[in-house]
Symmetry: D2
Subunit: 311 residues, 4 copies
């Protein structure tokens, strides 16, 4: 992370300024407010603002002043019920706004989630900082042999060194040429300088960009369930994992229900369910007799084995 002393001072000044409000607030999230959580080599995510809390979900589900809203059940129980039965609209009643700094190739995955509001730093209008992502050695992995969109073993020895040198040198050179072409502030009076909207095309995809990203709780959880998944690329997963921590601070009951009914849950197809039923009834089932493809069978075996392994 590379915030300047001025930027850090500005953040602390913002944190020092408190007001009173009639709105619901969450002390645990106030504690995190504005401060960047460092990610990757230069990235961060920080909470800029938020609206609502666990109670706001409950309040919306019941719509106040309606008869039948004076319920004995606990709020957490209702939240779990809503999550389990995919009643999504009450979760849309909370909103959060992040400031995120992230490599462009990660931003391109992220932006595919359309149900959010985004304001990105414009390289058409402004000049990007000289910052690009270089993987830590333990993240420099080979192509997976089993999964076309996954990683295999960590690279070692000469190959790792050569790859790191290429990534670093290419990103550096491209940025330096970007700056040279811009010729900002008439550095070289003999040249006009290339338009920013054109010069940016010379940057590599590991250059850092940043944006404000605002999303409701329902869509945030959907984003997190996909991007904190083991199949997500490491470089976006670290952002999702940091945001799950924010989730726990912000809406602890929703976060717990999310872990139980989304992150830790599995979906059994009709055929998989049939296999489970037969096995519970004492029957021994093989893939051949399961109605599942080899791939689905393997997925089922893995699901049922869990971390502990054998079944």
């Amino acid at each position: 992370m590379s915030l300047s002393p001025d930027q850090l001072a500005e953040i602390e000044a913002q944190r020092a300024s408190q007001t009173t409000t009639r709105r619901p607030g969450v002390p645990a999230l106030e504690e995190l407010l504005y401060r960047p959580i460092a990610l990757l080599d230069h990235g961060f995510v920080r909470v800029i603002d938020y609206m609502g809390d666990d109670a706001a979900v409950v309040q919306a589900a019941r719509v106040s002043y309606g008869r039948g809203t004076r319920r004995v059940s606990e709020d957490a129980g209702l939240i779990r019920y809503l999550m389990r039965h995919r009643h999504s609209t009450p979760f849309e009643m909370c909103e959060i706004k992040f400031h995120v700094k992230l490599p462009i190739f990660v931003a391109r995955q992220w932006i595919r989630h359309r149900t959010a509001n985004v304001n990105e730093y414009s390289a058409r209008y402004s000049i990007l900082d000289r910052e690009f992502y270089l993987p830590a050695p333990e993240q420099l992995a080979a192509q997976s042999a089993a999964n076309r969109q996954g990683r295999g073993d960590v690279l070692g020895g000469d190959e790792a060194a050569e790859v790191m040198a290429l990534l670093r040198d290419d990103a550096s050179r491209c940025y330096d040429h970007y700056a040279w072409m811009l010729n900002e502030d008439g550095a070289d009076p003999a040249r006009q300088g290339l338009a920013r909207e054109l010069a940016r095309m010379n940057l590599t995809l590991n250059s850092y960009t940043q944006w404000y990203w605002k999303v409701d709780l329902q869509n945030l959880m959907h984003f997190l369930s996909l991007r904190a998944d083991a199949h997500a690329q490491y470089e976006i997963r670290v952002y999702a994992e940091a945001m799950i921590k924010v989730l726990h601070a912000w809406v602890p009951a929703c976060a717990q229900a999310f872990m139980d009914y989304r992150v830790g849950a599995v979906s059994l197809s009709a055929q998989m369910l049939a296999v489970v039923r037969r096995r519970l009834a004492g029957e021994s089932v093989t893939q051949a007799g399961s109605g599942l493809s080899k791939r689905e069978w393997d997925e089922l075996v893995k699901m049922l084995a869990g971390d502990a392994g054998a079944n």
Copy 2:
């Protein structure tokens, strides 16, 4: 408006509870928070929560920590620029949540705006109150002769009285039968009572419903520009007008730009613009020579005349 003393007390209790926050706040909106603004005979709109202010729009447009954010222009100037040039994303960074009570036929227009979050009081799950909209005498208007979806003269005399009686009696009778069919709490032990999800079908479309409605500032302004328009039905327009007052309290700079560039603005088609240019050049233009249809010509004449009339 028909809040019970209990409900009013609950609102005041909520208002009395204040906390400190690091989030930006808007005192003028805090002043309005939770209190219902009465509309029509039983409806209301009240602000439940909000996020962001004028400065949040500016902050998002600039994305903090970017070079080129050296605030030479005033915030209001930037907001006006964004509004004029339809840069919509910075306005999406503010969010507001309303609790609205409104007749069902109004709710059916309102819900057509899809870019909002909604939780409606469920007549499948709960029982609606005995409340229905009856127009004030000055709103009881005839069908417009000129506009297939507008109103003409106010009804008078016997016709007005008869219409009012029908509206009142039909809504009352339908509600009473709804309640009878429900047979709530085993009022009549000899009957089982009809399921709520069925009984509701007997209600008339002027029955009141209520919902939580959450929307970002950009989409709120779009909604308001359509629903505060003179062509909108009176019964939804009163809600839009009340919400425009909320807008001024919440984000005064955005609200002013909205009035100038949306509510008070006009759009000239290519052909209309050509007519204006010719007239400014001293040419006298008739409809026949304008390239405009009769209808478009009339619209242009009206635009250019303004309230003051002749041109």
Copy 3:
């Protein structure tokens, strides 16, 4: 269903008109095109247009001209993989347009699905037909004792007769008064007639409306998974079930994957999965020792029992 001979003739004329196209087509869906599928007492759903087929999903998933598209797997296999792993974007590449006639209280549930395009018949501009939904005797059910938003036993005897009479009489009377207030075509020259946008408020919620509804395949399946569910209200479920038949005609491979991975699938929470693992390992698990609430335990037992019952 109440299409006039003229309307039916218009439909058949439209069916008779064929053209050639370079676009992909689906003969089984062409066979259904335009013809209404009758539902409830006056409702229908009919396919008006469509775009894409099973192959369009595969084509989008692979993006043509990219390396790595060497189709080693079958299209159906890829579709099943996409469905299983919730890769939703390829399913968004197909689109379908329906014309639906449905009671207003059903329309109000339906419209909550925001990711579709809708044009509804305007009762502000036009006059609704004299048609309202009356449940068949076997659908006239009591409130469920177990489920606040469900139905219990079918009503019988006097209660059923009384309820039916009320529903019929109230809807008829309200419609007749609606027509009287409109005073269409100056039926009574002594009256002006109430504006349509006002008169409509006198109609009951079982009045029929109609709309054009256009949706992509992904969002259609999401809609169907919620509305064809056993917990959905019967009056919307019949529409969903008819549309699932359309789905099978249109995109058979997607429809089969949808049945297996959505309709027939179950989701196990982290705690439920732990119980299943323990039972498969031979352990006897009780609710008390399961970590599940009573309600969740019952849901799990029901899932694992299936139709066959015992476990």
Copy 4:
């Protein structure tokens, strides 16, 4: 554009395959179907599928079988009315699907339009082609002095040559290193090869990507009005302009209304309108007395002058 002979043959084979359909079709668009329209140095846009035509907009606006739908006015007149009064939902009833090849920095602007369906070629899964955008000499422009996000004079002489050499060499080198790091097909048996999801970060932002992009007519026109605008970056504007030609072939009446009421139209703020009214009334108005800022005044003067200049 760089389609291989195989790809071109595949396109022609697809074009040669015709079927009959009951769906509405548009011969002028069928003529364009599948064939790429070359843009920039390697890009293209081609129509893959479509649904609906001008008549489908009219049909949706009227919702068939409703009374009052047998109108004497021409379809084109209705379409113009809908466009003028921003009745957007009937235009949502048509849909079109494009296959687009475009530089990544253009794709990043494009994707900001969220109301579309997208499937992008995955560089996580597959390998990108060795293609990158290099501006034509007349597009190699300096930063605008007047507009922070615009272009000024075309670069000339040594500066142009140096910039072109840098852009070409950096993109080539980065791609070559990308390919080297991938070590595809075990080109160098001594190396494992870097995972695709990582290697792609070494590519420059002018690398070409491609996607399927599906959108409804309403949102397509909104996209085009922003991206065919003179303020849009040239590299995305050429795509928008090509798609406007497609629009004319597909829905000629909508396209004409779009040109008149969107592309060729102007919006006058409340203050601008007041100035126009005063001038039409014979008053001489200066900026000082106009209530407009210098910038707004200049915009107004430019609007009213038109291409012909003086006013």
